[in-house]
Symmetry: C2
């Protein structure tokens, strides 16, 4: 069996990012967070670990960093609560796990993984999902661990905007931030993981594309692993993750063509966002139709990269 050179790519959300508001300090903080998450996944892959473990490690690091909209630092619903979604998928056998609308577990991606590994189900939501997380003993954190002043201010601004009837500022990054990772491991297996707090001021109960297998999260060793970020409703309707798989499988497209194709097609519909993807050969694609996407990757050459715009 041939050995593969491990590859890892991750994102911390996509959207309109004001270069004016991006101070050097703020940019350095984002890059440090991306680098830490890349290092966490790389350590797993370098030790010969599974792609599934690498993407789990990278996403946990991003969930723990309050700068990113997942786990600690998740955005607030219109009711001022936090509701988190996460999913992961193993390209070996398409096993998958997802949670939607949970609050409590420090790392929602571990909740998704427990659904995959410890139940006969793929997806758990709401109260039932929360009860499951407590029952199996996942690490639970209090409200003040998750809540940050920046997210409270963002909700206040958004509710004020709505009350005043002012136009949406179109800052999709603020509204649709997500984190995710995809990897190819030494054994040629692919995996994808995604985690999010959703959209600022979303209706309580809203489920985005992140926990929807085939939309924001998808992996199959035969084709690709995909984790998306963006205006989730469009990513669900266009089944973006599975659409890339389909174009590779049925139309013979390569990863770059398939992934940049669907991202370009979403733009005129209003489906702003992007994704990170890897294929079985170790090719990486990082397409986005927004001004920027927080991203980091390490390809077959072993050189780590981070980028925002």
């Amino acid at each position: 069996m041939p050995e593969f050179t491990p590859v890892l790519a991750l994102h911390g959300g996509a959207g309109t990012m004001s270069r004016a508001r991006m101070t050097p300090e703020r940019e350095a903080a984002y890059r440090a967070g991306l680098n830490a998450a890349l290092a966490a996944g790389r350590a797993v892959l370098a030790a010969g670990g599974a792609a599934l473990d690498a993407v789990t490690a990278s996403v946990m690091a991003l969930e723990d960093d309050p700068l990113f909209n997942a786990g600690r630092g998740a955005v607030l619903t219109s009711a001022g609560t936090q509701e988190m979604d996460a999913a992961l998928m193993d390209g070996r056998d398409r096993r998958a796990g997802a949670v939607a609308g949970i609050f409590g577990p420090r790392n929602p991606i571990l909740a998704a993984r427990a659904v995959m590994e410890r139940t006969e189900h793929v997806m758990l939501a709401g109260n039932g999902a929360n009860a499951f997380c407590r029952e199996i003993g996942l690490e639970i954190m209090p409200v003040d661990y998750f809540l940050t002043p920046a997210r409270q201010e963002a909700l206040a601004r958004e509710l004020e905007r709505r009350a005043s009837g002012a136009a949406d500022d179109g800052d999709a990054a603020r509204k649709h931030g997500t984190v995710g990772a995809v990897a190819l491991d030494r054994h040629g297996h692919l995996a994808a993981a995604t985690s999010t707090g959703g959209m600022t001021a979303k209706l309580p109960g809203r489920v985005g594309d992140s926990p929807v297998i085939g939309a924001g999260t998808f992996a199959d060793d035969a084709t690709c692993a995909v984790s998306a970020t963006g205006h989730g409703e469009y990513f669900i309707r266009y089944a973006v993750g599975h659409e890339i798989d389909a174009r590779m499988r049925w139309a013979g497209q390569d990863l770059a063509t398939a992934s940049s194709g669907i991202i370009a097609e979403l733009a005129p519909l209003g489906g702003s966002g992007g994704l990170v993807a890897v294929d079985r050969t170790g090719a990486i694609a990082l397409p986005f139709n927004s001004e920027g996407m927080y991203r980091a990757w390490v390809g077959a050459d072993g050189v780590p990269h981070t980028a925002i715009f």
Copy 2:
């Protein structure tokens, strides 16, 4: 603009149906329920109505019939509660709406439709979804409307079986019943709708394939409309609805080849079930890999049919 001959197909669940236990009276009751649902959708199409309205009407009729596992007569979770999922999709523009884990609305399919028509979201789940349904004034029914002795007995039997360690009887129909409808209207538009109580003794919070756009429910005028029923976890992992679209779109397969292909491929994996599908030419496909599927359809010849085995 050419007129199309309307076409409608629906299902009331698939699985291992014991012919021995199917008395003539019971079979007559199922066929009457299927016929009533077919008539409800046909009336809409005959009057020149939209495919979306036709599938909504057919699914409402099946939800109101306690024989089928959706709305009244939904199966019970392991906690003895009822949690319903529903979704619909409009082939004209891929607009979609879905609810997961709701209880209260008489017709969950109307809740899914309201998500599509009255929010900026595609999917709402749990408490937030229930609150939304009450806020917009959907008809809410009490527990004793939904609960039937047959479902209480089914839960008791399943919990006894688990406690005794006896082997699963493999009755996927009992566990995975779902209702759904697909239609082509006079204007050439497609739509799909699906509604379910899920699996008997499922974990509270479990979300199946029915409300997952691209899995149990999918529609695009360019290809097909699909509503699935079966072991939902497999239908999610294989993105069954969107996979049929992809095989038609990217591999040039016809509806029958694409839909029977994926259903046949799921069988050896353990993914028992079936689906109803229509394409833009009015072709109907009703593949299933289980012993039977409650189904009814009316093609371009206008002759209504019902079938079980």
